[in-house]
Amino acid sequence: MLPPARATLMAALDAGWADPRRLYAEGRRARALLDQAREELAGGLGVRPPEVSFLPAGPAALRAGLDGLRYAGRRRGARMVATAVEHSAILTTGRYHAAQAEEPSLFAEVPVDRVGRVDLSALEQAVAVPGTVLAAVQSANGEVGTRQPLGQAYELCRARGIPLLVDAMASLGHDAPPAHFDVLAGDARSWGGPAGLGVLVVPERTRWRRPGPVSELELGRTDVEPVVAIALAAAEAWRQSQATRVDEAARSSAIVRRLRAAAGHLRDVEVVGDADDRLPHVLTFSLLYVDGEALLTELDRRGFAVASGSACTSSTLEPSHVLTAMGMLTHGNVRITLPLSMIAPTLEDDIDRFIAELPAAVAAVRARLGASDL
């Protein structure tokens, strides 16, 4: 979390502790703070405050966005379309509905190319099928960094009257906010805010309706009350991240380019994702003959916290659905997400050390597997 957002969170715990629905002074103050947070985020996202709702987390906002579009379209059908590299909140929900109805065609997963970009002609065909009520396309992929062609996806959906749900959980705070969507979801952690805040944007023009009983919370878009202090801290983090976004993106991009070049010099490596049209702050690569879990442990021992999409590092022992959809090697996968500079002021030095130590870490893991000379 950004330090100013942390300070705001602490202060807001004192000022905004009361129930915003109560009429006493403390309640009214909490209401005013919540409204202030909503206005800040609405302004940043280019929408009006009543179009913004706070949910407990990004994935919850994404799922709520999906459920509301599906419910609003229930008289036209129940078929949903998503790219094969969407967040699991989308994919598991879509597959669940198709399985419940025993009708696999109710959820279509649109293929992506080798860099992870959606096949637009396949998307166009998918949304043309009668009974389709929504399409889900992320702004950019949080695992491999590739940006999606949102403008084109939006146009071809609009031509068919299909609302577009955009998952901006990976990009908000790093890229300019998406301009093309019918429903948008984000997570405050992506812009340096606290955990525990998802943002759901439903513009007035969009036909969206939450299934279930009517709720008075968050303009009727959830039945979970937001924590005022968390929302206020998220708004402060948003303000900070927007003020520095262009500089941060340039700095991160330069580091990512260095890291991708350094990884590319390793033996038997696939550096994954689009080289240029990508998020500034994430990168991933896969190494042949490397155990992802062992490499993470080896890097952790050297003081580096990285993630992995390899099967051995997941609870289900299934590899990343993003890497498999792209046809990329899934084992020996390393995923790096760069923090904002206010959070990690010594990042450049750490990256120097990482680049210096990575070859030895990889060699150590390959040697342990007897794979040094394959």
Binding site: Y289, A311, L329, L369
Partner: protein
Amino acid sequence: MNRIEVDARGLRCPLPVIRLAAAARDAPAGTLITVLTSDPAARHDVPAWCRMRDHELREMTEVPDASGTDAASAAHPAYLRFVVVVRPHPSKAAGGGSNSARSSRAM
């Protein structure tokens, strides 16, 4: 024609690919290597290895649960069977292969 079978059932990633690569390293070009694996990642990683190392993936088949005796199906439930054709070795002595193994598209 030279044939090798690599039974990697029960091994987890990246071991099936490592066993396959070890077999391919010592095999003459044109050798048919059959790999049996129950690792879910191998479904994606064996084709990726073939692509990175320029070997030919001739066949991928899913072998369902061994019907019949319970003991056999318990030992090896469902697994995948790949058939790979080993490519001619390039300048192996020069330690080559690493460049061609990189995906130029991703760089």
